[in-house]
Symmetry: C2
Subunit: 325 residues, 2 copies
């Protein structure tokens, strides 16, 4: 059993390699080779620790596996990261374990890779102003992912914690040459060509009236029952796409849209990222329309990213062997 | 992250230690400290590989975790074990991974530990003849577990494969001083004081008419939709107990009894192994009655067993440090 640490991932796993693996995974999901099993949710630590299990089969490799993910907000006070993920890869045929991958950094890469793919398919080619609402640990990943696929020159970010502003700014400055400003959610929304929401919100943080024609929105936050980032009128106005129809209406942004009668499960089955990537569908957004991508986060992203990490580590150890030969 | 291999478990994890951990886990389940999350089922390898995920929180430690289990029957032809399990333990408070445990041998111990606990609570003190139906890899674990808690002098085993008979006999001879005979399912059932079914059957392998008064039956096989080992009339006649009511009526033997109107979910909530172990309930079997324990296999058994294995390995490495000091 191969073990890949978080530090291994940070050093040796480039975003581009994860992006390519995630693209193959979404294509295999759409053509029926991949499967996403039901998400399991539970709690630990006296109800203060939210635990989730995502499992599935990535037919593009193929590999089976499971990611155990934790969100323990009390970790901030302990000086520890609040999100922790660990992925176990299982041989598709024999069921034997292949690898255990610490997937904290990797989870940031795999989530933002779906965003990058959606932006590539849905956002205007010349989009240059990125609005980000929410500046927790995932926000930097999202900014770098969008900048990977569009010529971003300006970032407006909304988030009130001074410590998080400082951390976000330091990391953006380290990786990108852009103008960075902090603003409120309304200003971010009004100015953005591409708007990314990455919050744990349970009520809309973006109102329809704020969003200008031609904007693409990636709603990355909603991944559980009750979570919501976008006003229903905005979803109604938008050309909407999802990572996985069934999961999206259960734990994603579309749970609210379905209840409001704005989308149907049948309709969403035609509106997946996999179909966009395969060229089987395209946005019908008019010049003054808006597009939305709802990311609920899929097990196949976890498996594809973990497998990419294992491949990177094999290449590293093979290089090391060649160098010492 | 601690890694415990299957070989570590075989060498350093005694059954008695697993048994004590599993008993604590069932007690914590009954008193509300433990939780079993939903079981996830999927397939890999072109539908020839059955994949399951059991997760939960064992409040007796406390620890969170997940077991990924595979059954790939094609592995026989590959010279590999057909069942493979891997357990990931997660810190209850912080969500950080603690250990990865190869749980092939351990799975045999944890399953048979529940059987031993049920036998201790339900079978007659003087039960000396054990009938076993099914002689796959799990059967030896079950025989040893029953012999751990009752004075077994004779074993009758039903199973037709010559290779499996040979393997079963070799292992029983290695560990126990008993009379061992192979017989058909009817003879095993008629002679047994304690009868253990450990098959992948999807139709009854034990008929009511075969079972003599005073017999205890542990039905270990049914752990998925459609599986069944006992005739409904036998379940109707018996005083029935379960590991987990909700899971038992979904994937255990009680799925059929519920449909036949023989048991209710509300009734089973009073008939759990945890309640027996806490002394909050006892069998109402009369001298000529029959008891049944339906084991569907719980995540908390996986977590308790994996944690016991980690503790054993810590003791081993501490002994090694002392010896070298």
């Amino acid at each position: 059993v191969i073990f890949v640490s978080d530090d291994d991932v940070r050093r040796h796993v480039p975003f581009a390699q994860v992006l390519a693996a995630i693209e193959r995974a979404f294509i295999a999901l759409d053509d029926g080779r991949s499967t996403v099993f039901d998400v399991v949710r539970g709690t630990g630590g006296g109800g203060e620790h939210f635990f989730g299990i995502k499992s599935g089969r990535d037919g593009s490799i193929p590999v089976l596996g499971v990611k155990a993910g934790s969100y323990a907000p009390g970790n901030y006070a302990r000086g520890l990261p609040s999100h922790t993920s660990t992925t176990l890869l299982i041989d598709d045929v024999t069921g034997h374990p292949i690898a255990v991958v610490e997937a904290n950094h990797l989870n940031g890469l795999r989530t933002s890779a779906a965003n990058a793919l959606a932006v590539r398919c849905l956002a205007r080619e010349d989009a240059s102003t990125l609005g980000i609402i929410g500046i927790g640990g995932q926000a930097v990943f999202e900014a770098l992912a969008v900048a990977h696929v569009r010529p971003i020159r300006r970032i407006l970010a909304a988030g009130s914690s001074p410590a998080r502003r400082k951390a976000f700014e330091e990391q953006i400055r380290q990786h990108l040459s852009v103008d960075l400003e902090f603003a409120d959610a309304e200003t971010c929304s009004r100015e953005a060509d591409i708007l990314v929401t990455v919050t744990p919100a349970r009520a809309p943080v973006v109102l329809n009236a704020w969003v200008k024609p031609g904007t693409h929105i990636s709603a990355m936050g909603a991944d559980n029952v009750g979570k919501q980032e976008l006003e229903i009128d905005l979803v109604r106005r938008a050309d909407c796409w999802v990572d996985h129809p069934e999961q999206s209406i259960r734990i994603g942004e579309m749970q609210h849209a379905l209840r409001a009668g704005v989308v149907t499960l049948e309709g969403l089955r035609e509106r997946t990222l996999g179909r966009l990537l395969r060229g089987k569908a395209a946005t019908t957004r008019t010049a003054d329309g808006v597009t939305v991508f709802d990311s609920s986060g899929l097990a196949i992203q976890d498996l594809a990213a973990a497998h990419a990490a294992v491949e990177c580590m094999r290449a590293v150890s093979s290089d090391a062997r060649s160098a010492s030969a």
